[in-house]
Symmetry: C2
Subunit: 222 residues, 2 copies
């Protein structure tokens, strides 16, 4: 189990989130990367309901995760995945094309797929009783479907985006997972199988368990 | 002028786009980075109305830009910015914290700010006559305003996101630019000044001119 209070690496996460967000907070991404390579990390748990003022110094949006790696601190889960990826070939190839492709696919997941999934979260969760959300939904689903069709073509019959598992799959699988409930992933058999393959990895299970174990039952201040 | 047919670097861009998109297509980002450091590149211009089938092999969404750098090919403008940034300290600091911060801010621009601006584009351009777009707009503007307030705090009185200019500013300025018309940038004087400072750079002008020069008057097939 890579959680170790003495580790050089520290991941900031929330000590409580509402039920619908449990298992989906983005510290899952660096936890998963660490679990894949057995890299120890410590947790810094903060309150989501009363975010510490100094947290905005390291995370301008007040979100998680933040990674502290010795003297280096960084935010944005995509940047953290690339940072961790550079430590180990099991997370990122070390040849120039492999590294470029892994970087491209992490951005693809977070800039070309996740934005529509964010909006689906707005439509299906945060604004679900609003008139605009009901009217918006069909067009949004159609757009996501088009994007997933391209992703399905690009993946083809490869087991992972680069062939071998990499941080690109951590980014993409955590994004696709957010669209499962709406039923769109299941429309593309190779994407559904890909997602099963990713979240079927023991490292994913351990990362998910670690995130869930950090939550208290009721919200607490930091 | 860095456009040179013999260059090792090749940027793929469109040979025509509709008026509203002119000056906003994302090949502007790598063009700008190249102009900042006088790095020669050649252009590969393709049709946006009849996208070449083999283009999807290198750009799964059929979009631009794609960068070819010798033997390495990559897509996603964020990944391309990081790739180019690693070539020159004028684009990215070469100490570990500086590099981590630049990477974090490129992701911040593209994953934490641009998604709402995408949606504003949907609301104000692509779906402007739809009922949902009218109903959605006030909440979306309020959300963007909150995010811009955080960005404004993080920038403070620094001239650029990392202090010195970097690829993070290319990413963030090209995102902010898309929100100018809606009037939200102007509500934050330091962001408005920051954007002016970024797009006031001669390299930006040259990049913009190069993108515009590549467009034919009427759409043409590849």
């Amino acid at each position: 189990m890579p959680i170790s209070p003495q580790a050089d690496l520290e991941i900031t996460a929330f000590n409580w989130v509402p039920d619908f967000a449990r298992g989906f907070v983005r510290d899952l991404r660096p936890r998963w990367a660490c679990e894949e390579i057995g890299l120890d990390y410590s947790e810094k748990l903060i309150s989501a309901v009363e975010r510490p003022a100094d947290h905005y110094q390291v995370q301008p949006w007040g979100q998680v995760p933040v990674l502290r790696d010795g003297d280096v601190t960084l935010f944005e889960s995509g940047a953290i995945l690339l940072h961790l990826g550079q430590k180990d070939r099991r997370l990122m190839p070390d040849d120039p094309q492999g590294r470029a492709s892994a970087t491209a696919w992490v951005f693809a997941a977070l800039n070309s797929v996740e934005p529509m999934i964010f909006e689906l979260g707005n439509v299906d969760i945060f604004s679900k009783d609003e008139e605009w959300a009901k009217l918006r939904r069909p067009g949004l689903i159609a757009f996501i479907r088009t994007r997933f069709a391209r992703l399905s073509d690009a993946l083809g019959d490869k087991p992972f985006l680069l062939g071998e598992f990499s941080v690109a799959d951590i980014a993409m699988a955590t994004v696709l997972r957010e669209a499962v409930k709406a039923g769109i992933v299941a429309e593309f058999p190779n994407l559904a199988a890909y997602l099963d393959r990713c979240v079927g990895r023991p490292a994913f299970d351990r990362a998910l368990a670690a995130q869930l174990a950090a939550f208290t039952e009721e919200p607490v201040a930091a």
